[in-house]
Amino acid sequence: MVAKKSLYPHPKNPVILASGIMGTTGASLTRMAYNGAGAVVTKSIGPVPKKGHSNPTMIELENGFLNAMGLPNPSYTEFVQEIENAKNNTSTPIIASIFAGDTEGFVKVAEELSSANPDGFELNVSCPHAEGYGATIGCDSCLVEEITASVCDVIDVPVWVKLTPNVTNIVDIGKAAERGGADAVVSINTVRGMSIDINTGYPILGNRYGGLSGRAIRPIAVKCVYDLYASLDIPVVGVGGVSCWQDAVEMIMAGASAVQVGSAVSQSMDVFKSISSGIEDYLSANEYSTIDEIIGFSHKMG
């Protein structure tokens, strides 16, 4: 088992709001913090305002959600005030998720948002449904390394890189982020998917296809976290289908130092509290003193 640097800002509470969920405004982020999130990640912010794709942008399937929001965001110029608003109202760490079409764009957005003093950055190189952004970048390890290094160069707070599972080998991309100086990788963004309305033949999403999230993808995320943990020295933040404390413990045993929760917010706003208290109960029932004792535990078994 590899000893990892601890995840900084080290969350006392390892249950984090994932990007793209309730992250459009400072108020919604603050609300999630009040509801028990250990940290909150903003909606992904880019260099220019984007309205996103036309609706439907998100539908609930039997066992998850399919979405193609299309990176709607008001750009950093407008979003600085949302981060400031959140920072003024909660001491919970605020992680700014950012995207751009190239290295300069990432650097620009990061620098500009820094004025609002976010507690960290998450680089979105993994959105599966925005041409020229996200996963278009995130499957190119050279580009991921370059972007990560460039952002790390100009930023003092931790930089996380969120990875796409829609690649042949996620570990290659994770290693590129690590070489670039990332403080952690976040695994995984949504899985490419599509749904068709058989009554009309129309793809349901306005963008035709999108990203699958929720319960359906948990086993996929667990495998990615497991592989990344085995190969990287930096911490892994696990995300993908976590909806209860058992899911979170599974992700942690696979190698996650913290988990992000997204789709499950649709069940209840109390999901952060119930997951984090469930983890605590699990730890004490099994006589562990901290979560560190079970991070990557599965790698020792079998």
Binding site: G20, I21, M22, G23, T24, T25, G26, A27, S28, L29, T30, R31, M32, K43, P49, K50, K51, G52, S54, N55, P56, T57, M58, I59, E60, L61, F65, N67, M69, P72, N73, P74, S75, E78, F79, N85, N89, S195, D197, N199, T200, Y202, I204, G206, S263, V265, S266
Partner: protein
């Protein structure tokens, strides 16, 4: 849920700019709840239910324009009902409805429900002009009706607030309002000083939605981050105190725009 493919079985022109689309599917919904209406190939938009099997639409954008081209027998995709509707009145209640323009859509079924259940209903129905008044008969069949038009072509010349200001609001157990946010804000301001009135008044808001199911956060309102689509679209007046309501909203990109 997947959009339910739904056939239009009747289309009624309610006013020069509004049509009601009736469909072959019954939604067991409370007045104030909404559907996400997928106009295939164009967009999906939130629409309040004006009947259990119908929505009343004003032509304002791409999706509604396409909807206006549809004919009986065509289909649309429907998801819902979503959100929280109005708190239903109790049998002995006396209620006041204040509807402006298309704001009559969720209040008309509430008026009918209330009348059927022995509730005393008074409605103030406003519109720009006589031809734009909708559901006048549905309201007048349910109780007293005050009409206002901006141009005086029907009822009192003026705004719904002109009537409201002359009523004794302590007479009513519940007050329900829906209409343009500017109008709602005027009403809110009138009631703001009397907290007990605000407490019993419900505002049905209309905002831009993306997911419609409370996940994406695009419709959150400051400062509490309440989601119009899931925590609303109906809010008690007291929930809206010191909020962005009537001041600004967010566009599709999340940028604040003045109301």
């Amino acid at each position: 849920m997947y959009p339910l493919n739904t056939r239009l079985i009747d289309i009624v022109q309610e006013s020069p700019s509004t049509k009601t689309f009736f469909f072959d599917r019954y939604f067991d919904a409370n007045a104030g709840q909404f559907l996400m209406v997928w106009v295939h190939g164009v967009d999906e938009i939130p629409m309040t239910l004006s009947y259990n099997s119908g929505i009343t639409v004003q032509k304002v954008g791409d999706a509604t324009s396409r909807l206006f081209e549809l004919e009986k027998g065509d289909t649309i995709g429907l998801r819902g009902p979503f959100g929280n509707g109005f708190t239903l009145p109790e049998k002995s209640d006396k209620i006041l409805l204040v509807a402006g323009g298309l704001g009559a859509a969720p209040l008309a079924p509430l008026a009918e429900y209330s009348f059927k259940n022995g509730v005393d209903v008074t409605t103030i129905l406003g519109a720009r002009s006589s031809t734009e008044l909708i559901f006048g008969e549905r309201f007048s069949s349910a109780g007293d009706l005050y009409i206002t038009t901006d141009d005086g072509t029907s009822g009192t010349c003026g705004f719904v607030t002109d009537i409201l200001t002359n009523l004794n609001l302590s007479d009513y157990d519940r007050i329900y309002t829906c209409g343009p946010e500017v109008m709602l804000r005027c009403i809110f301001n009138m009631l703001q000083d009397e907290k007990y009135v605000l407490e019993k008044t419900e505002f049905n808001l209309h905002r831009y939605f993306k997911c419609g199911i409370g996940v994406c956060g695009a419709c959150c309102i400051d400062p509490k981050g309440l989601r119009v689509c899931k925590d609303g679209p109906v809010f008690k007046g007291t929930e809206l105190i010191d909020s962005e309501f009537g001041e600004y909203k967010r566009d599709a990109s999340g940028k604040r725009v003045k109301i």
